[in-house]
């Protein structure tokens, strides 16, 4: 009986092994690792970066940014015209663009989408900020969209709102409960969502009728990874084709790996060290418990001068970053600001110490001046390491740091409640600098009840606010750039935060599977997390002979062999035992 069973098992195992994974006429697939969860496939609700990125592949926006230099280019609309008072914008949606189900895309779809957001509070969840200034959106005919705004708005060509098909969405009852998972999902982008298994993967098919032309491969798969470590490993093994957001060490580990090409790109992110400038509410009440000494701008400047930004970039970022200066990273070249030699604070602990002496904070008998607290996020490699350096630098000028690394939530809590002296923070910026600049205006501070604040640094400066208002209504780009730079200079001078570094986006791909990707911008740009879908859309498959998938199956063979050997041993043993039954107890 037992023997029979074992034999059966053995047969089953060998059968399992001999059946190879079916692989006839395999489509060309680009497999991309994502580390962040997908919160929703409904573009009105999806707020996670990962979801937005997939949304860009499914739905085109009204306008787009070129891969070359991120300038505005054709999206669904190919022409646009503001009125002289800058309050009315007219967009033209050309003929010939189609939804993935063949229905033509019209201006009415655009108007429908914006009006849905204007009327339905839930539809504003993700992208509401783009339409708050809208007064009215209409589509006088199938080709024309007219948007009237309440006040002149410079960001009218940066409306990052996915446009959805009216013929599908007008039937949706409650936006809140709509998961948008009727596969394939009707869209206008280069790819069509065809399958989503939460926590596992997302599959998109190439949109053969895409108006810019079909992508050069068949399917795009996003595969979920719990951490980037696993993703990097999978890339090294060839299980996936594209990974981003690598840690410097992981990036280094891929050096010289056959079949893998690394892409060190300029990132959209900057990391900053916030210095609590004496947080106040909009009504001027002090809140939080920031150290009072930091209200003195001379102290903030001295602290900033004592930080060796070059060393941080070299040791913590392992060189994969640019030294920080203004609020706009160099990837968005024209708005990026660098201090002139006169303005720049060069690293000089001695000068910093002298400045503190002069400001009235001499060293005490024990060599310290005043203690400060530093909050960072536990589990973020940068914070964990940079805090060590900062601790050292600050103690060199007589400021002992109490470093507390806390959870994401606790960090948010502290920064919102202004219960910090120094804190790590960071932002991802957009092509238009408006948002990142707005974070530092007085109006962003919380109300009298301490709630409703969206300020980053609790910065409130008249000069800065005046410049902010100016740039918002400046439609001459060159002059706007100039104002934006002035704002950054002011920010740099007042130091509510020290921009530590612009981190590189570290990406890697299987160049043996995909020969080339389109980066944005063309020079030193990123493949993933673009302001657009060029990276995925422009990927060109390499000439391959065979998919490398079979290599993984050796593992099964090994396991099967072990099982078979065990079964055989068991059978032999059982036989032997039966034979000797009489002599045994």
């Amino acid at each position: 009986m037992r023997v029979k069973l074992c034999a059966l098992l053995a047969i089953a195992t060998t059968l399992g092994l001999s059946a190879p994974p079916a692989s006839a006429q395999q489509p060309v697939v680009l497999k991309v690792a994502i580390v962040q969860q997908i919160d929703s496939m409904n573009p009105f609700l999806a707020v996670f970066q990962s979801s937005t990125e997939i949304g860009r592949l499914m739905y085109d926006y009204l306008t787009a940014y070129t891969a070359q230099d991120q300038s505005v280019t054709e999206g669904l609309a190919n022409r646009w015209q503001p009125s002289p008072d800058r309050l009315t914008w007219t967009f033209t949606v050309p003929e010939g663009k189609k939804w993935s189900d063949g229905v033509p895309i019209t201006a009415r779809d655009v108007a429908f989408t914006y009006n849905l957001m204007l009327t339905d509070e839930v539809a504003r969840t993700a992208n509401g900020s783009f339409v708050t200034n809208f007064a009215e959106v209409t589509a006088p005919d199938d080709r024309t969209v007219v948007i009237r705004t309440k006040t002149p708005q410079v960001t009218m060509l940066a409306l990052d709102v996915p446009i959805v098909p009216e013929h599908v969405w007008s039937k949706v009852g409650s936006i809140k409960d709509y998961a948008n998972d009727q596969m394939p999902v009707v869209g206008s982008g280069p790819f069509v969502l065809s399958e989503h298994v939460p926590g596992q993967f997302i599959k998109l098919q190439a949109n053969r009728t895409y108006w810019r032309g079909a992508p050069k491969y068949d399917e795009l798969h996003f595969v979920y990874f719990q951490n980037s470590d696993a993703a990097v490993q999978a890339l090294a093994k060839g299980e996936i084709d594209l990974v981003n957001r690598m840690a410097p060490a992981q990036f280094d580990s891929l050096q010289g790996k056959a079949g893998v090409t690394r892409n060190k790109a300029m990132g959209r992110r900057f990391t900053e060290l916030m210095i609590n400038p004496g947080a106040q509410t909009r009504t001027g009440e002090l809140i939080g418990d920031g150290s009072p000494v930091l209200r003195d701008v001379r102290v903030r400047r001295a602290l900033a001068q004592a930080i060796d930004l070059d060393a941080l970039v070299a040791r913590v970022n392992l060189g994969y970053a640019e030294k920080g200066a203004g609020l706009v990273p160099p990837v968005f070249g024209k708005y990026h600001w660098q201090p002139s030699a006169a303005e720049a604070r060069t690293f000089d602990p001695a000068a910093a110490g002298a400045a503190l002496d002069a400001a009235g904070y001499p060293r005490k008998a024990d060599g310290t001046r005043f203690p400060l607290r530093l909050i960072g996020r536990a589990g973020r490699a940068y914070d964990e390491q940079a805090s060590e350096y900062l601790k050292r630098s600050m103690s060199d000028i007589g400021v002992p740091l109490d470093v507390r690394l806390v959870s994401d939530n606790q960090l948010n809590e502290s920064t919102t409640a202004a219960t910090y002296d120094l804190a790590f923070s960071g932002w991802s910026t957009n092509i238009d600098p408006d948002f990142v600049l707005s974070l530092h205006t007085c109006a962003q501070r919380p109300g009298a009840d301490g709630k409703g604040g969206t300020t980053d640094t609790y910065f409130c400066d008249e000069t800065y606010d005046r410049l902010y208002a100016q740039q918002l209504s400046e439609f001459d780009e060159a002059r706007r750039v100039e104002i934006v730079k002035q704002m950054q200079a002011r920010f740099y001078d007042q130091v509510p935060a020290v921009v530590l570094a612009y981190e590189n986006a570290l990406e890697g791909y299987r160049s043996d599977h995909f020969a080339r990707f389109t980066t944005q911008p063309a020079q030193g740009g990123v493949i993933m997390a673009q302001n657009g879908m060029w990276g995925y859309y422009g990927a060109e498959p390499a000439q391959r002979t065979a998919q490398a998938a079979s290599s993984g199956w050796t593992g099964f063979a090994v396991a099967g062999g072990v099982v078979a050997a065990l079964v055989a041993a068991f059978v032999v043993l059982a036989r032997r035992r039966r034979a000797t039954a009489g002599e045994r107890e």
């Binding site: 079916a22 299980e239 994401d408």
Partner: protein
């Protein structure tokens, strides 16, 4: 009477879990709305809207009451992150966890009990020493570390993540093989740790019975040694072990968190880990209620099963 008491106790436990879950996660610092909108253009008005949407602006006791009443109707609330009913999100992930934990438990039970019986029956033999030594060592091994080591050692032999490849042929055999292929490392990791415990428990349980007089009776009757073991000793000794297996099964579900984290296995453990960073209150509560509920139910099952297997225990 006793049965009613059992059910009542289980229900009370679940109720306490629900209450604890609610308040425990309300203490988690951080405003979920801030977390939700972080790094995105958002205005104070939008945040307030979101807060209202999720009922976060209401007083705590009202929130609790509405949470509680809908819980009684099986509604676990709506996940902040996924914008979908928590029960749906959890159900989605239940399958992979059950597959992993089920496979691992099955193997671990069979292997562990077998090893434990053999080791105890030949106490102090080489087999016993090796089994006990290995079991004790494995018991000391942190699960996640074992997983990482296995991953590093096996190199390219097994996939490093997830439950299946995205480009496997859709027919059943290929899919099953693919899942099996992915299942090897996580289940081996889980088996190694769980099996060790079962083996040790089974061993000590059988050792307890080794000197029982009824075994002498059985020997005196002329039974072969292995018959004495199989017919008399094991049926008695296996009872506590089976109870433990059931008790553990619930806990293993929770214990799979680290394994699932290491191997990106798309189950409840991974979901729990993700929910913590939100913090996704309702999801966390739901997960706590579900995992604790699993343990409660397993406890109950263990009790009932014990009553069936052991005639001395009467479940009326």
């Amino acid at each position: 009477m006793r049965l009613a008491g059992r059910f009542g106790g289980a229900a009370l436990s679940l109720l306490m879990v629900a209450v604890l879950g609610f308040f425990l996660f309300r203490v988690v610092p951080g405003d979920p709305v801030v977390s939700m909108t972080r790094g995105r253009p958002s205005t104070a008005a939008m945040q307030a809207e979101l807060r209202a949407q999720f009922g976060l602006d209401r007083p705590l006791h009202e929130q609790f009451w509405s949470y509680f009443t809908s819980l009684l109707q099986g509604d676990l609330g709506t996940s902040f992150t996924f914008r979908r009913p928590v029960s749906d999100v959890i159900l989605e992930r239940l399958g992979p966890t059950l597959l992993l934990v089920g496979t691992a438990t099955l193997i671990a039970v069979l292997l562990g009990l077998w090893l434990g019986v053999r080791a105890a029956w030949r106490r102090d033999s080489v087999f016993d020493k090796v089994t006990t030594g290995v079991s004790l060592t494995l018991w000391a091994v942190p699960t996640f570390w074992l997983g990482m080591l296995l991953m590093m050692v096996t190199g390219d032999l097994f996939p490093s993540r997830g439950m299946r490849d995205t480009d496997t042929a859709p027919d059943f055999v290929s899919q099953a093989l693919d899942v099996g292929h992915h299942l090897v490392l996580p289940s081996v990791t889980l088996v190694a740790v769980v099996c060790a415990e079962y083996a040790l428990v089974m061993r000590s349980s059988l050792l307890e019975e080794m000197h029982a007089p009824y075994l002498t009776t059985a020997r005196a009757k002329g039974l072969r040694d292995d018959l004495v073991r199989r017919r008399h000793a094991v049926p008695n000794a296996v009872l506590p072990a089976i109870t433990l297996v059931f008790l553990r099964f619930g806990l293993v579900v929770a214990g799979a968190i680290t394994t699932e984290t290491v191997f990106s296995w798309p189950g409840l453990g991974l979901l729990f880990y993700d929910a913590l960073t939100g913090p996704d209150y309702f999801l966390l509560q739901g997960l706590l209620v579900v995992t604790a509920g699993a343990v409660v139910v397993m406890n109950l099952l263990a009790d009932l099963l014990h009553g069936v297997l052991d005639p001395r225990v009467k479940v009326v």
